[in-house]
Symmetry: C2
Subunit: 187 residues, 2 copies
């Protein structure tokens, strides 16, 4: 049980290290354990990673649910996006090295995360705070892909994240029926 906890802590720490490679050997070295001990404690590398990532994602999803309960959907979306970008920026290895692995808990929690964002968008649409001329699922994908790109930008920049959220949230608002027309030959 203690070995399990040590391996889990080491894997979680590695997920936050820029450039870290998530091998069993690296996790074992960080935990001060042998590789065989680490594998035995979890029954495999995928199970270990799944537990580590799930442990990171659970509070993120809880936070999304709390925000939905406490704020308007639009405010919740804005606050959550800001925190999600900071979380993603702090956990470089989270998406890079998990492709193609069997991580059932992680997969379920990611679906929960998408669902929480979808609830924010649906609520904000109902409130008239977000435009309704875009497909909600498309809007979720758009937000997820662009927010992740901003989180991954090097060097990390709070200014860039803030500018992104400002432009995104303003662009998601219901727009005036006709944009101001400008002459095209005034230059």
């Amino acid at each position: 049980m203690r070995n399990r906890e040590l391996a889990l802590q080491a894997a979680t720490a590695l997920l936050a290290e820029p450039g870290a490679v998530l091998t069993v050997e690296a996790i074992a070295a960080k935990a001060g354990l042998g590789a065989a001990t680490v594998v035995r404690a979890f029954g495999g590398k995928d199970a270990l990673l799944d537990a580590a990532v799930a442990g990171l994602l659970e509070p993120v999803i809880q936070r999304a649910r709390d925000l939905l309960a406490e704020q308007t959907p639009e405010q919740a979306l804005r606050t959550f996006l800001s925190e999600l970008i900071a979380f993603q920026a702090a956990h470089h290895a989270l998406n890079d090295q998990l492709d193609g692995r069997n991580l059932p808990a992680t997969t379920a929690l990611r679906a929960d995360l998408v669902q929480a964002v979808e609830q924010m968008i649906a609520g904000a649409r109902r409130d008239g705070a977000i435009r309704t001329d875009l497909d909600p699922a498309l809007t979720t994908t758009l937000i997820g892909q662009t927010a992740y790109a901003i989180a991954r930008s090097q060097p990390a920049s709070q200014e860039l994240a803030d500018a992104f959220i400002t432009v995104l949230m303003d662009g998601l608002r219901p727009q005036p029926p006709s944009p101001p027309s400008r002459p095209s030959d005034d230059r």
Copy 2:
């Protein structure tokens, strides 16, 4: 000279192939040449890649300049972003496998590309078509990072690209001085 042309065409084609690995061997095989011949024709793999990428980027930058000459800066930015996303989506290997290489022509053309987008943004700010409360360089980074993420989304989706450009361009517009206030306790 003929070998040079064959190798260049092969490298250019590989840059558009999803999942292609840009090794000298792969380029040579596609060109129907030996690896040594390919290296000799260009004096090295980096020089070959540099020529292939530069050949792809040159018309993109020319297009940006043409748009700036023909349309308002805001229209040019919108049109160019749409075409840039399609170009990036069609050339998967363009950014992935070029890091850390010595590609002087590519580096110079990328700077030209950033400059062209900066000119569009500066012109649109002067026209009052783009908000001026964000730093122009930050705005360029924001556009570049998010557009690239949309271009890389799988599966590629014209709908997603269109929604992105709509939200981005609306979010970049000068915003009304005060957002409509909504009660936060109306749910």
